[in-house]
Amino acid sequence: MSRHIIRNVSSEILENQELAVQTYRLTLSFAEDLHHFTPGRFVMVQASTTRDPLLRRAFSIHDVSPQQLRILYRVVGRGTEWISRRKSGDTLNLVGPLGTGFDLTSPIRKALLIAGGMGIAPFTFLAKRLREQGVEVLLFYGARTASELVPVDAFKACGVSVLTATDDGSRGEPGTITELFQEHFRKVEPSEAFKVYACGPRPMLLEVARITRNTGVACEVSLESMMACGLGTCMGCVMETRTGYRRVCREGPVFDAEDLLWNGR
């Protein structure tokens, strides 16, 4: 069993910095190496010291250095609001890493990453790992408006090309990120051995899945779902797939786009 890789530890906050409107980057310190934290996996984080709100909050792994974990999150409710008020020196209890992350084993030369809004969160880490493998990475990053975009310095620093779109045209191309992606996707030679990774709102993921379907290009999507346990026991976070309901927290959050049925909400 992999008991040793599951943690339920309190870690110290090194930094909890606002990077964009209501969007924070949390840096946590650990005593041990985080080598088992891989791109696309997630952690369940304490969101209260009382019984209300009750549940932990699930966040993808934004970035990892040997003894530091970063989480990028937006304040959307009481839990994330509580987390945003934690200061450096405070401790937070965390369980993780959990779930199935991105597949980095298939040999590819080029990766197209599509992020919508907070869907950018797991891609910093993914892009770094892909670049380490010598993969050419192109990031498509969209949001409703410029003030919601977080800085992309970390991507540029490791040689990732970034294309941006905003719904209101306040930065980058006006329009949705899937429009920009589709334009580009058409031009890529199928022989280039590439792969698509997407994370963002469900309608965006559905559109990316539609664009890549039947093209022979593998597409992995990272899903968000309301979770109670994050461990695979409550069965609360399921997504419908070709083989029935699968747990976003266990078989996911990263799924092959071809396996998903996009019914429901």
Binding site: D52, L54, L55, S225, G232
Partner: protein, 311 residues
Amino acid sequence: MGSGNTSPDLSVNLGGIPMKNPVMTASGTSGYGEEIAEIYDLSALGALTVKGLSLEPQRGNPPPRICETPAGMLNAIGLQNIGVHAFIEEKLPALRELDVAVIANVYGHCAEDYAEVVRLLTAAGGIDGIELNISCPNVKKGGMVFGTDPMATREVVRLVRRATSLPLLVKLSPNVTDITEFARIAEGEGADALSLINTLLGMAIDISTRRPKLANVMGGLSGPAIQPVALRMVYQVARVVKVPLVGMGGIMNAADAVAFLLAGASAIAVGTANFVDPPAPVHIVQGIREYMAAQGIDSMENLVGALEKDV
């Protein structure tokens, strides 16, 4: 009061199930034990209650299946499970190896289904007890229909009692006017112990979309929000039946657990807390031990139902 010098004895016999301590996991909150075993050694538990098993595999309800509510959560999983046959083939062998009592939670669409699942589990061996789920609010056929109709409760407990010699627990629904009526019926039909309570039927609405937050519209409320209701029901039932009770409903820590034991539960089950704080059952065992030592209580029989009577 006993001596405070010796380590308290936490062992308990739950209607024929010997347990090393009174702490169990509630059905549906620890799967078939595999995921929880990644977090702590299951032998720390008094008993592990597995996710509800039905004759055939169940898909469960469409998502969204859960939502958070004030100091609690709603769920409408719909008893998604692999079915009793796959359970016996794939999950039970590992459970047999564990040094912990294993209780199989069972549900069916009709009374005969319940009996058949129980027969299969009994024949398979390695199960220490059966818990009848006649109180799930999230399935259209079966479940709570049995637990809120006195005649149906009588019928299903009677039929299952004939199908097994294993210790039989009946899990009661709180969604009734008088839970003691159902407790008496289950005891009268041969239940060895009673589990209470299952979730309370509830609902939440997203006012921005004007939709129920759950695809199933309604779901079962669990967590600290229901604890006073659960405690009250354990107290009421303990006064009218002789069989031991498993108290559950929003137990988050040892203090909560001790309250249920004082109210008359012989054992307690940890449910929603498994999601919030996965090792909670281990901490609760330790906390009960510390409470008993501090209070000079040497055994469970001196703790269970030890509420001061002159209140």
